[in-house]
């Protein structure tokens, strides 16, 4: 590429980004608006007499929901990694017979609509008494992440040199020891990507929460916002403040782990 860096592209890029992120800005703006100004026409484009009332409402009403979402998110990460990492080891390095069929099934699994899974889980949970429970939601949410995680681990571990395993065996290490002492540490980046997406998907989930946890005492934050919209449509500043708080994990991850995010999005869609 030519080393010249045209400044007009930077300006244009800033304009595009501003347009794209405008709804996000608007969410923050509304969250800081006084209730009396919410119905102003035209609305203030910048927060004039800003107020933190909305955030106060979040602290008073939504803290349990935030805690529930955190628990579900972390539970989902643990469950996903526990299942996917050994499976990736088996498929990618130990070359399990029938792995072609299994990877195929995992690809198909990713195409199943969440509504369908939700109905199936509902039918099962009704009998088992798992409706409105956190473990129930953790399991349901993990179905979004597990196929993705297995495929990601498999793709990475298949690229590891197999001689390494043989060397480990010569040194007297069994398959389990090779897995925990060599393969897992080497797969650190894959684990970060998997954990990040498993958390984010569980945190953002609406469909499973709204079907499997409709009457629970402990509802996740997504459902908290949804109920909020249904109950009091006048307090949009409080709704938007909750939305801002619910967006914090996404923002943190984007800042701290941007390259893992990009790695996850493109995994598989583009060959390198």
């Amino acid at each position: 590429m030519i080393a010249k860096r045209p400044w007009w592209k930077t300006v244009l890029g800033l304009v595009f980004t501003a347009l794209m992120l405008f709804p996000v800005y608007w969410m923050v703006n509304v969250s800081l608006t006084q209730t009396s100004d919410l119905r102003r026409n035209p609305p203030h484009l910048f927060p004039v007499n800003l107020t933190l009332d909305g955030y106060e409402a979040v602290l008073q009403q939504q803290l349990p929901a935030l805690g529930t979402s955190l628990m579900i998110g972390f539970g989902c990460v643990v469950l996903t990694v526990l299942i996917a990492a050994p499976a990736g080891y088996s498929l990618g390095l130990l070359r399990l017979r029938g792995r072609t069929t299994l990877t195929f099934l995992l690809l198909v699994a990713q195409m199943i609509p969440a509504v369908v899974m939700a109905m199936g889980f509902y039918a099962i949970y009704v009998r088992l008494g798992l409706l409105n429970t956190i473990p129930g939601l953790i399991v349901a949410n993990s179905t979004i992440a597990v196929p993705f995680a297995v495929l990601l681990y498999t793709a990475f571990m298949a690229g590891l040199p197999r001689e390494m395993l043989q060397a480990a065996r010569v040194d007297g290490a069994g398959a389990w020891r090779a897995f925990t002492a060599i393969v897992l540490p080497l797969s650190r980046n894959s684990t970060i990507t998997v954990a990040l997406f498993a958390f984010l998907w569980a945190w953002s989930d609406f469909i499973f929460a709204s079907t499997l946890n409709r009457n629970g005492d402990l509802i996740p934050i997504t459902l908290g916002i949804f109920n909020y919209i249904g109950n009091n449509t006048t307090q949009w500043n409080a709704i938007m403040a909750t939305a801002v708080v619910a967006s914090v994990p996404a923002a943190v991850l984007l800042i701290l782990a941007q390259r893992y995010v990009a790695a996850g999005v493109t995994a598989g869609a583009v060959k390198d």
């Binding site: 709804p23 996000v24 609305p43 509504v115 199936g120 939305a243």
Partner: protein, 321 residues
Amino acid sequence: MTTTQPTASALSPLRGAAPPPGPRRRPRVSATQWTALGFAAPLLAYLGFFYAYPLWRNIDLSLHDYNVRAFVQGDAEFVGFANYADVFASPIFVTALTNTVIFTLASIAVQYTVGLALAVFFRGSFRLSGTLRAMFLVPWLLPLIVSASTWSWMMNSDNGLINSVLRAFGGDGINWLTSPDYSLTAVIIANIWLGIPFNLVILYAGLQNIPGDIYEAASLDGAGPARTFTSITLPLLRPVSAITLLLGLIYTLKVVDVIWIMTTGGPANSSVTLAVWSYREAFGTGRPDFSPAAAVGNLLIVIALVFGFLHLRFQRRQDES
């Protein structure tokens, strides 16, 4: 669930699956296979319990006449394909199917076009390009309820920002979410916004794989930007484009939450898609009707699988070439 969730395709293990070199005795191989099976066991159990079983329950639901009471007691009457027949005969079916087609095609066409334009724009690096590209991921990372409720408020008839801008320019406000003429457009707009980041990231990665020399050679031959785009970028990007569009299609077919949060499929079914219809029958009303909902859901699986197989065949062919 996010509209556009990345799919990891495990092509690499399939590709490099040549048998390991070196002498190997038979008992060793089978011992390794037992170990491999042991490590895969949690996944196999997981797929059985949490994928196969719910899916089987879903098929079971669609073949019986389930209501809430039968649900708990498990004595629903077997009705064969009657639920499917009811679904096809329902007046909502045609509406939902038409809306699904419009919603899906309009969403992916615009997402792809805008995503490609942005990817080309970001191709040459310039100051801040990396940071700005990262910022474009934000809509995709936000929980859907957040984006959907923000759009709802922006599209509010009386107090929404979009209408106040329209009025400021002398136009009339539009009842985005409450008029049957505009509700589908409204949810399409929000969904396009959600999908642009995914398209941008994948197409940008695809562009990075086109060698820079080709562009240099083209510019030495005197090709302008338009010519470069049509003769180099588009043809070389075709495999990536196809995958992006197919994945977009599969994900857009499944979308429930954006539409449900913004319009609940209304007013008067004007923004109902097959997925939303299924959700509404099962969970959206006071009286859950699981059997038709399951039938619609299974129909949706079939449609998604058809495109899914296209996607897999395409990838395999690309892999062989």
